[in-house]
């Protein structure tokens, strides 16, 4: 047994988003999302339930899942606004990708990005971007959700 620990060097939870298919982390074009306060992967399987006269318990069958990756992030100027130099994710920035409702590819590395480390990937759309700042917390933070189109795909680096 081995708990999935993200606190060790080389074991960090990492989210990479791109506007193109991700085969490995390309720091020149992909956004390695910085300042994540937390991240949650939600594989919300749907269930259809029905009752029958011949049973005292409901029956159920799995139906399509609602898949999401949600997080809270501290906004970093470079990755939030991009530099506008190109059409890749890093150039466009998180805000532009969300504002344009662009399809994003993502990979969530559970514990490190090295050989043999696990990840899940998928595609989806940014939703729920809501940057906020307050008098006693003078740094912009925002929730961010990737509403996943289709299945999560697990993989190993």
């Amino acid at each position: 047994m081995a708990y999935i620990n993200v606190s060790g060097s080389g074991d960090f939870a990492t989210l990479v988003v791109s506007t193109a298919t991700i085969t490995s982390i390309d720091t020149a074009t992909h956004i390695v999302v910085p300042g994540m306060q937390n991240i949650t992967l939600n594989n919300g399987n749907g269930v259809f339930r029905w009752k029958q006269l011949d049973s005292t318990s409901e029956y159920a069958i799995a139906i399509a899942a609602t898949n999401q990756v949600s997080m809270n992030i501290v906004l970093d100027s470079a990755t939030f606004f991009g530099d506008g130099s190109g059409e890749d994710a890093l150039s466009r920035g998180l805000f532009d990708i969300s504002n344009d409702k662009s399809l994003v590819h993502f990979r969530l590395y559970w514990s490190g990005t090295g050989s043999g480390d696990k990840y899940v990937s998928g595609t989806g759309y940014f939703t729920g971007l809501a940057p906020t700042v307050s008098a006693d917390q003078p740094v912009w933070v925002s929730p961010l959700t990737i509403d996943v189109a289709g299945d999560f795909t697990p993989g190993t680096v």
Binding site: V6, S7, G8, S9, D11, F12, A13, T14, P34, G35, M36, Q37, N38, I39, V74, A135, D136, Q137, P138, V139, V141
Partner: protein, 131 residues
């Protein structure tokens, strides 16, 4: 922050009842300078403390909050308090808004203590900034 406060207060209190001096409030012969030299305002060295303002996941950089504290002292005769003492206090407390240091909250307050026939004012400035 001590340098900024000192710079402002040296000028702002130059003609006031309580004047600001640049020395630290050290002791001589067991007596603090601000008691020996009454109506002189002494600023102590600044103190720093850092704490996590916004924690993030391991491997990324927490947003840190730095609190800078500066304490100042002056004393007056408790039996015969100088005129315009309240004006001096207003100037001294108001110096918090003249540091020019980026911050997200700066406070000043004072407490008093009577020791024998001396009334001691202890003024504290606290500034919060991100680090």
């Amino acid at each position: 922050m001590r340098a900024e406060l000192l710079s402002y207060l040296t000028t702002a209190t130059s003609t006031a009842t309580v004047k600001t001096v640049s020395e630290l409030p050290w002791n001589t012969a067991g007596e603090a300078l601000y008691i020996k030299n009454m109506k002189k305002f002494y600023l102590d060295q600044e103190e720093y403390s850092e704490s996590v303002l916004i924690p993030v996941l391991p491997g990324q950089n927490d947003v840190m909050q730095r609190e800078i504290t500066v304490t100042g002292y002056f004393a007056v005769d408790a039996k015969n308090q100088p005129a315009n003492l309240s004006a001096s206090l207003t100037t001294i407390l108001g110096a918090k808004d003249r540091t020019g240091i980026d911050n997200f909250g700066i406070e000043s307050d004072y407490t008093t203590e009577i020791r024998d026939d001396v009334l001691i004012y202890t003024v504290q400035y606290r500034l919060n900034t991100t680090a």
